[in-house]
């Protein structure tokens, strides 16, 4: 199936930003996209696969270990034998709602066990998503126990399997991306704040913008190959920016004054725990890296605050104000000139 190019998506700036920031700094902790139907949430996430730079992997390793890595390797690659490197597209795994637990975490390879009496682990979707993205559309409809499991693995970066006489652990570091429509039932609050960033996706009500969306969609459906080719230059340019930003992100500095403001902002909003501050900092670094800055400015911090904090506010049922607006209000309070 042809994939609509990421760079050809009209609008949806915050969603695109959130995905790119996560691609640059996976430690941000995933993205939750909430919003109306027909806004192209799935399109954007599926488009990411074709945008991201290829990864280098050990040939034949089912867990896609990186040949150059020293730590976080699977059992086989840890032994340090000589390996052959090869390239593959960045994994973006789309988790179907009907998936069963054994296929998500992996299980005993039945065919092999029966044919040869050999006990071998058949890796699941978590292994397939390692070093990439795991996407769940309509996350509010996935079984609770599966969602909890995914969040645990995403946080620890390791999948531990103890079943059918197998005892396996393998690295599973991926960015969890969920989408949902709040009109079809609110998400469990425990689940909300375990996602690093939260985006409120809305359809544009701007006529010219909507026309452009429909026009591009139409052109893509008429001739996908030609459409993708038309956008290939922009795709390559953005890919280069991501590669450069990844190389730079660890060296981006965070001035004390900016950090102090970040802490103050979280306190003003009453965002629980340290997760808010950490995400805010990491997101700000990734955003700075993406725009080619060497240190995080106040402006950058302000621009990522709604993404990092909007889902961490205590809910007040009688206050109708949109969470994003509440964050922005707090931002303008904290950042008095």
């Amino acid at each position: 199936m042809a994939i609509f190019p990421f760079v050809a998506i009209v609008g949806q700036e915050s969603l695109k930003d959130a995905l790119l920031m996560s691609a640059i700094e996976p430690a941000i902790g995933g993205v939750l996209a909430l919003g109306d139907r027909g806004t192209g949430k799935s399109t954007a996430i599926r488009a990411l696969a074709a945008l991201l730079p290829e990864i280098e992997v050990v040939r034949g390793c089912p867990y896609r270990c990186a040949p150059a890595a020293k730590a976080g390797l699977c059992g086989v690659c840890e032994r340090g034998e000589k390996v052959v490197a090869e390239h593959m597209g960045a994994p973006v795994v789309d988790l179907p709602l009907g998936a069963t637990e054994d296929r998500v975490v992996g299980a005993l390879d039945l065919e092999r066990a029966l044919a040869k009496g050999e006990k071998r682990f058949e890796p699941g979707l978590l292994a397939r998503a390692h070093r990439g993205f795991l996407y769940i559309d309509e996350v509010n409809l996935l079984d609770d126990h599966l969602v909890d499991l995914l969040l645990d693995v995403a946080a620890s970066g390791e999948n531990v399997v103890e079943r059918e006489g197998l005892s396996i652990r393998h690295p599973a570091r991926f960015v969890l991306v969920g989408s949902g429509n709040p009109e079809e039932g609110d998400l469990r609050p425990q689940l909300l704040d375990r996602f690093g960033l939260c985006v409120d996706v809305r359809t544009s009500t701007h006529l010219a913008e909507r026309m452009e969306i429909v026009r591009r969609r139409d052109a893509f459906e008429q001739d996908p190959a030609a459409f993708i080719k038309d956008w290939s230059k922009k795709t390559a340019a953005l890919r280069k920016r991501v590669v450069e930003a990844r190389a730079r992100v660890q060296t981006v500095t965070l001035p004390d004054a900016v950090l102090a403001k970040a802490v103050e902002l979280c306190m003003t909003l009453g965002a629980d725990g340290l997760r808010g501050e950490l995400t805010l900092m990491r997101a700000a670094r990734a955003r700075a890296a993406l725009s080619g800055e060497a240190q995080v400015s106040m402006e950058t911090l302000k621009s990522v605050a709604p993404l990092a904090l909007r889902h961490r506010l205590r809910k007040d049922p009688l206050d109708d104000t949109d969470a994003g607006v509440r964050v922005e209000r707090a931002v303008s309070e904290v950042f008095v000139p």
């Binding site: 199936m1 609008g11 700036e13 109306d36 139907r37 027909g38 806004t39 192209g40 789309d94 988790l95 179907p96 709602l97 009907g98 998936a99 069963t100 637990e101 054994d102 296929r103 998500v104 299980a107 039945l110 065919e111 066990a113 029966l114 044919a115 009496g117 058949e122 699941g124 559309d137 309509e138 409809l141 079984d143 126990h145 079943r163 059918e164 429509n181 709040p182 009109e183 079809e184 039932g185 609110d186 809305r202 359809t203 544009s204 009500t205 701007h206 006529l207 010219a208 913008e209 909507r210 026309m211 969306i213 429909v214 026009r215 969609r217 139409d218 459906e221 809910k315 049922p317 009688l318």
Partner: protein, 598 residues
């Protein structure tokens, strides 16, 4: 609609003729929708038909299959379908016979190249609908189940049939958005067909013509603008509408799209979507500026453009269509409301409901974690049979503790709290506001998220379901931000509507709870006529019927001083009675929680 046997007066004859003409037109549009689906199945995806009689539904399915040609088959998707039947999984019998895992394809894979029929689509659970929606989007089924990992192409046309009679139930919105057409056939009689079927030659000619149809820019603009003005936010709708307009032109053998083509396409695509929005408060007018102000497209647009002629034409056509559909809906279902479900039928329901509906299986110990799921357990054990040693005593299958699967049920008491609120007279707004506050408090306060809430308001001549059962705080806020109020007090209609909703929710295996906010003094009878005596009698009758359903009811007496009438009607319906002289959302919410739910 049954017609009286008595001779009709000239007036009634004329109005009957008018109705027949409208019905014929509605059938014609349904038939056209099916022709368009056959012409461009991959772009238009499918249709939803509301209130179609079984005969008409059958006719539409058959015509679609014939027009698609090359042996397109019909596949039915039952509402209760399980994940493994839907997307495939391990074939238990074949696996046992072969001694190795054998896969079984699911319904969605088998439907490839054919037609998927979804009857009673309004009852389709969100999860099944979401899986179907995804396959419609991607054109393939991905199965990750029972140790199997499969991918298969799945492109089909979906025909969903919904029955709008079931108040409060509606098609899962995510699915409706993905199918191009939404048409009401409510009240269209199966006995009155319906024109000649489209010939195969015309369709073949249209297929050849289709690539040549040109779309002028101002048409795209008008279609998108019209969608915005009708409050349709999804961008799938204008795309569908554009494709449909091309198809209509191609069917007529033209390579240009006329205004009439565009109007017809808008009726087919927009009318059902606009309807959803009309029930909710009107959306804000199109914003002159997009959220991000640095967008370069800003300069090219005028700040607040006037709709052009074509846009206005399209919007008007859809509006007319929507009001005709609403009129048809009002005519039919009210008769059925009075039709009571036989009392004996509900008895066994009460028991089975407590267990909730099954939603799957997981590994576990049946002694500790609940009931054994035999089929899933066998399925887990099946592939191992060849290498397992058979236990002594002539056993045919060896099951070990690790194979045990236990059933998972939807939460035992997935409660639905139905608020029934007196919205008559001058204090209506006040009471409705309290009910709204209580609903929001209830929803936001429940951490387990296992309760949903509905709101019925009664005023003037009848009762309206203002909020169908929902757990979404967002939807509550959207649909309650403008509430109607005033007029007489049709208490009986309010109680009847509550009883009706109780029955619907029970059929969905939910546990309904009813909360009244009323002074117990009705003055409008069930048939809409004024008069205290009849109204009171009707209210007591309805109250007894509600009591017969044996569900918990809480009655808040909102009169200034506790009244005998309120207490009487509360007793008749078997309710817990609470005087509430001062409106207080927090207290209502607290009492509902402590008296009904906990």
């Amino acid at each position: 609609m049954t017609l009286a046997a008595a001779p009709l007066s000239a007036d009634r004859q004329a109005s009957r003729d008018a109705f027949e003409r409208i019905d014929a037109a509605r059938w014609g549009q349904a038939d056209l929708a099916v022709a368009l689906l056959a012409l461009m199945p991959h772009r238009l995806k499918g249709a939803i038909f509301e209130g179609a009689s079984p005969e008409l539904a059958g006719l539409l399915q058959d015509r679609l299959a014939v027009r698609l040609g090359s042996g397109a088959l019909l596949h039915r998707m039952p509402v209760s379908i399980t994940d493994d039947r839907l997307v495939g999984g391990l074939d238990l019998a074949a696996t046992l016979a072969a001694g190795r895992p054998v896969a079984e394809t699911g319904l969605l894979t088998r439907a490839n190249g054919g037609v998927l029929i979804v009857p009673m689509a309004e009852r389709l659970p969100g999860r099944a609908a979401a899986q179907l929606a995804r396959v419609i989007d991607t054109g393939e089924v991905e199965t990750e189940r029972d140790g199997l990992s499969m991918r298969a192409e799945a492109r089909f046309v979906t025909l969903a049939f919904a029955d709008p009679d079931e108040a409060g139930e509606r098609l899962p919105a995510g699915l409706g958005d993905r199918l191009a057409f939404g048409l009401s056939l409510q009240g269209v009689s199966p006995a009155r067909p319906r024109g000649e079927a489209l010939s195969v030659e015309v369709l073949a000619a249209a297929r050849a013509k289709l690539p040549q149809v040109r779309v002028p820019d101002d048409l795209i603009e008008a279609l998108i603008d019209a969608a915005l003005r009708l409050g349709i936010r999804s961008l799938r709708a204008p795309s569908f509408c554009l494709a449909a307009a091309c198809g209509i032109a191609a069917l007529a053998g033209r390579d240009t799209i006329t205004d009439a083509d565009a109007t017809l396409a808008s009726e087919l695509v927009y009318a059902s979507r606009a309807l959803v929005q009309l029930e909710a408060p009107p959306p804000p007018p199109p914003a002159p500026d997009p959220p991000d102000t640095n967008d370069d497209m800003n300069d090219s647009s005028k700040p607040q453009p006037e709709p052009d002629e074509l846009t206005e034409l399209l919007v008007e056509a859809v509006r007319v269509r929507v009001s005709l559909d609403m009129a048809a809906r009002r005519q039919t279902p009210c008769q059925r409301t009075r039709q009571e479900v036989p009392a004996g039928k509900s008895g066994d329901m009460v028991d089975s409901r407590r267990r909730g509906s099954r939603i799957g299986a997981r590994a576990g110990d049946p002694r500790r974690d609940g009931r054994l799921d035999l089929l899933s357990t066998l399925r887990t054990a099946a592939p191992w049979q060849r290498i397992r040693e058979m236990p002594a005593g002539g056993a045919v299958i060896s099951v070990r503790a690790a194979d045990f699967r236990v059933k998972r049920f939807r939460h035992r008491s997935e409660a639905v709290v139905i608020f029934v609120v007196d919205a008559s007279g001058s204090s209506a707004m006040n009471r409705l506001a309290e009910a709204k506050g209580a609903i929001e408090l209830l929803l936001s306060g429940c951490y387990s998220r296992r309760e949903s809430v509905a709101l019925i308001a009664f005023r003037k001549e009848g009762a309206d379901l203002l909020l169908s059962p929902t757990r979404s705080l967002t939807r509550v806020k959207r649909s309650l931000s403008r509430l109607p109020g005033g007029g007489g007090t049709p208490l009986a209609a309010g109680i009847a509507a509550a009883a009706q909703l109780v029955r619907i929710e029970r059929r969905k295996r939910k546990a309904p709870h009813v909360v009244f906010l009323s002074d117990g003094q009705g003055n409008i009878a069930l048939d809409g006529s004024p008069g205290r005596e009849r109204a009171g009698q009707d209210a007591r009758d309805m109250a007894r019927k509600l009591k017969a359903l044996q569900e918990p009811v809480l009655f808040f007496d909102i009169s200034r001083r506790p009244s005998a009438e309120a207490e009487l009607i509360s007793t008749e319906m078997g309710a817990i009675y609470r005087p509430l002289p001062i409106a207080d959302a927090a207290r209502v919410s607290r009492d509902v929680r402590s008296l009904l739910l906990d």
